[in-house]
């Protein structure tokens, strides 16, 4: 792909989203309205804006990351618009805000350089932990920032801006900070961590002292699970940590140890928490628990099965039967209305974006850049896998936003910043 193709592809993605919205319009009212133009404009301005920012601040960045992401965002937007036009209006603003923040990130890195991210490492970790803990703030009281409980999980904060209130999931930004911190920490400590192992028979185990951080992060993840009842974020943080540790050191023992800790944590939380048990039983037999815990998964599968190869067509299915169809289950809603053709296209775009991310990591020579690109890509990939896998019964359902598709401003902002960082790394590595 030549670089000149990128604007064409982004216009194509915007046109695709606009065409989808026009079909939804037509199915609902038999005519087409201004939403079509607005959608085209939003997608084009958002992703075109990021593209212009890369031209200016990171001209050597890889050209094939933005187009698949724009297509994904377009698909998601059509389905959100079809299910909840009001929320689609909000999502439109979040797309623009996320894109603007991505441009800011690109500009800031162009001015200060990627290494500047390594400067306040411990502060970053503290901020990340602080952000993660913010939803635990009291939900009543005079503080301008309050914790919120939504669907039994405590992931949200409500920011009082006096004129209006803004709800935000600080965890979406915290996980970026966590990856930046880990990349920086592991880049420095890599020689020490590597080779620090002892052999027991044929098994190579890391030095017990080196397992300290592993256990610490494991406990932290469990803490998130217990205090916020958020299976997804807990699993995500721990998986990213183990994967980055393994990549930095090449020690398979970390994978084995991490796997064992996940197993222990999984079994323990299954025994301790009702909500984990419900998730697991809904995973094993959603149709047996149709009236209860399995309803959402079963409805998602019914939707995708009814959609079959070609789908019902946008606006012509019944994805509103699926609970949380615009957030956790947006993939099932796409499956119902766009069919197997649509879901394979979406899955292909994710695969393309993720492969591009891994490519950036593999080609990077600087240790920090390499780990950063890998960690960011891995976060993106694991989120995608966990939530689509949950919808498709490959893994138990965890409430995680599908990157760039699910409705939700915080996730969109976080993922735009993630893409901006990846673009910055690819530019920096290309110009070294």
């Amino acid at each position: 792909m030549t670089r000149d193709l990128q604007p064409t592809l982004l216009v194509g993605a915007a046109a695709l989203a606009a065409f989808g919205v026009s079909l939804v319009n037509f199915a609902a009212q038999g005519t087409v309205d201004a939403q079509v133009g607005l959608t085209f404009g939003t997608v084009l301005v958002a992703f075109g804006g990021v593209f212009v920012a890369t031209r200016r601040f990171a001209p050597e960045a890889v050209p094939h990351l933005l187009p698949p992401v724009a297509v994904i965002a377009g698909f998601g937007f059509v389905e959100i618009f079809r299910l909840n036009p009001f929320r689609a209006g909000l999502q439109r603003w979040w797309l623009l805000i996320g894109a603007a923040l991505a441009a800011v990130v690109l500009a800031w890195i162009a001015r200060n350089g990627l290494p500047s991210l390594r400067r306040y490492r411990n502060t970053q970790l503290l901020v990340a932990v602080g952000l993660l803990l913010m939803p635990l703030l009291p939900s009543e009281g005079s503080l301008p920032i309050r914790g919120l409980e939504v669907n039994g999980s405590r992931l949200w904060i409500e920011i009082d801006l006096y004129i209006t209130q803004l709800n935000f999931q600080p965890g979406e930004v915290a996980k970026l900070l966590f990856v930046v911190f880990l990349a920086s920490y592991l880049a420095d400590r890599q020689p020490a961590l590597k080779g620090a192992h002892r052999r027991i028979g044929r098994l190579t185990l890391p030095e017990p002292r080196q397992l300290g951080p592993l256990l610490l992060v494991w406990l932290g993840s469990l803490g998130i699970l217990i205090s916020q009842r958020d299976l997804g974020a807990s699993l995500l943080l721990f998986l990213v940590f183990v994967a980055m540790l393994y990549v930095a050191t090449g020690e398979g023992g970390y994978l084995v140890g991490g796997g064992m800790l996940i197993a222990i944590g999984g079994v323990a939380s299954w025994q301790m928490f009702d909500h984990v048990q419900r998730r697991v039983s809904a995973w094993l037999d959603p149709f047996g628990a149709f009236e209860d815990a399995g309803y959402q998964v079963a409805q998602g599968i019914f939707g995708m099965g009814t959609g079959s190869l070609a789908g019902s067509g946008p606006g012509l299915g019944q994805p509103e039967l699926i609970p949380n169809a615009i957030t956790d289950f947006i993939f099932a809603a796409v499956g119902e209305e766009f069919g197997f053709a649509g879901t394979v296209a979406v899955l292909g775009c994710y695969a393309l974006a993720i492969a591009t991310g891994f490519g950036i990591a593999l080609r990077s020579r600087d240790r920090f850049n390499k780990l950063l690109a890998f960690g960011l890509t891995f976060v993106f990939a694991i989120q995608t896998f966990l939530i689509i896998g949950g919808v498709l019964r490959v893994v138990p359902l965890t409430g995680i936003a599908l990157p760039f598709m699910s409705y939700g401003g915080s996730a969109l902002v976080g993922n735009f910043m993630l893409v901006a960082l990846l673009l910055a790394v690819s530019h920096e590595e290309a110009t070294r």
């Binding site: 499956g335 899955l347 993720i354 492969a355």
Partner: protein, 486 residues
């Protein structure tokens, strides 16, 4: 670091492979199962308000149609002009309470293809007709209405078959319900009222409920006896007042309490004409469970019969009866372990009428497009040969005597030779299930019929097959044949 990184990337794409595999199952290979799952209301929602094809009889009676909705120019309203009379055949399709009957079995043919789905658009591009197809049923509308009227106020069923083809001429289960009540906004409450009705109108007594056949089962036992050469019409049997069940102190007596004939010997023919239990109990033991079971299964027992909806399987549990002569003797007179549907007993009568061949019963003769061109036409076929044509002639003669001089005299029709057999089963004391199976005219059968009423019909405890079911069967066959002649 690139080695571990490549391995982690491979792991991620392995995970994506799993996602693709799961997706292929849910949306391609297993999609039909999920789409048609009864808990998946999407199909019902999709077709509500859309145009659907007609369900009609050959005389032009409309059983189901779609009319334009006066309130919404784009929508249609389904209606069932015949109301309860055809409900167990036509069924219903309702956004709120699901679907049943032909409306369910022929949903793909009856639906409009103007759905704007991609596959329908492709079909349109290739010039395929998008209008819904229509279903022509074999039911004779007038006979169906007459049968429903005859069962009015009783619980029971009438099934009539054209013996040579297997075409269903009447399929009535009484009491019935009005499928129109399942269509509107009050569908859920209306359906609950139907489900709560103690007379259980939702049940399909014609084909999906099992009853003891009583003495009508003697036709099956006689067919097995004649076919195996163990007995003929003139074979003489002992004529005791009671038959002692082998290995038991229990006994079987005749309906009149006395002997069947002169108290010394009686022929098989006389025993069938007078419906003597003593003789048939002994005959069943002589013929044996194996031979009776084989004949029964050729008639369609113990087999799932292909039909637009699921039928109950009539049973003659051969393996349970092989070593239990007492149970075999009781089963030989249609009690104990034998259970049948009225449809199955109509097939028994039809097989005797059709030179011993059982025709596959069918209820849809044609699916035709909006211009009236046939798309699918039913092909009659034979699914069993329980007896030779010679045996069928012998049985026909015996069954004709039942109507001319035996228990089935009330089924006789002036100027038409009728063959038949009555039955009165007593699963519960005082609540006889009364039966008549038969066919006419004997020389060239055009209709075979089974009539069954629970609890003795209007006569209650004192009702019998001969006094309640036989006259209904006679008048229905007369109506069908007389009109057919004119």
């Amino acid at each position: 670091m690139n080695g571990p990184m490549r391995r982690m990337a491979s792991l991620v794409f392995l995970g994506f492979g799993l996602l693709l595999g799961a997706l292929t199952w849910f949306q391609v290979l297993g999609a039909n199962g999920y789409r048609s799952d009864p808990r998946n209301v999407r199909t019902a929602i999709n077709i509500s308000g859309k145009e659907r094809g007609l369900i009609v009889t050959s005389d032009g009676s409309v059983l189901a149609r779609s009319n334009p909705d006066p309130d919404d120019p784009q929508a249609y309203l389904r209606s069932y002009p015949e109301g309860p009379t055809f409900s167990h055949v036509v069924g219903y399709t309702s956004r709120l309470v699901g679907e049943a009957g032909l409306e369910s079995a022929y949903r793909n043919e009856l639906r409009s293809r103007r759905d704007l789905t991609i596959s329908d658009v492709i079909a349109a591009l290739f010039g395929r007709d998008l209008r819904p197809e229509n279903v022509l049923v074999t039911i004779d509308a007038e006979l169906q209405r007459a049968a429903a009227a005859a069962l009015e106020g009783s619980r029971g069923a009438v099934v009539a078959i054209e013996p040579s083809t297997g075409a269903i001429l009447a399929y009535v289960s009484s009491p019935s319900y009005d499928p129109n009540a399942f269509l509107g906004e009050t569908a859920v409450a209306n359906r609950q009222a139907v489900l709560d009705d103690p007379a259980e109108p939702i049940r399909d007594r014609a084909g999906a409920e099992l009853y003891p056949p009583g003495s009508t089962f003697k036709v099956v036992v006689a067919a097995a006896a004649v076919e195996t050469g163990l007995a003929g019409p003139e074979t003489a049997f002992d004529d005791p007042v009671i038959y002692e069940l082998p290995g038991s102190t229990a006994t079987i007596g005749n309906a009149n309490g006395g002997p069947c004939g002169d108290g010394v010997t009686v022929t098989l023919q006389a025993a069938l004409v007078r419906s003597c239990n003593t003789v048939f109990a002994e005959l069943a033991v002589r013929v044996g469970a194996g031979a009776i079971g084989q004949t029964a299964s050729s008639f369609g027992f113990e087999r799932s019969i292909e039909f637009p909806w699921s039928l109950a399987e009539s049973t003659f549990p051969e393996s349970d009866l092989t070593d239990d002569a007492a149970a075999l003797a009781q089963s030989g007179i249609g009690e104990r372990n034998v259970r049948v549907t009225p449809l199955q007993m109509a097939m028994v009568a039809a097989a005797v009428a059709n030179d011993g061949e059982v025709a596959q019963p069918y209820i849809v003769s044609q699916v035709f497009d909006a211009d009236g061109n046939a798309e699918e036409v039913a092909e009659p076929r034979v699914i069993g040969r329980p007896m030779s044509p010679a045996t069928a002639v012998v049985l026909t003669e015996m069954m004709e005597r039942v109507v001319t001089s035996g228990t089935g005299q009330q089924a006789s029709i002036t100027g038409v030779r009728v063959a038949g057999k009555t039955g009165t089963a007593l699963p519960e004391p005082g609540q006889p299930d009364v039966w008549f199976i038969g066919f006419a005219p004997v020389e060239a059968p055009q209709i075979a019929i089974a009539v069954m009423l629970e609890d003795g019909g209007p006569l209650g405890e004192s009702g019998s097959g001969g006094s309640v079911a036989a006259p209904i069967a006679g008048s229905l066959m007369e109506r069908y044949l007389v009109r057919g002649d004119s």
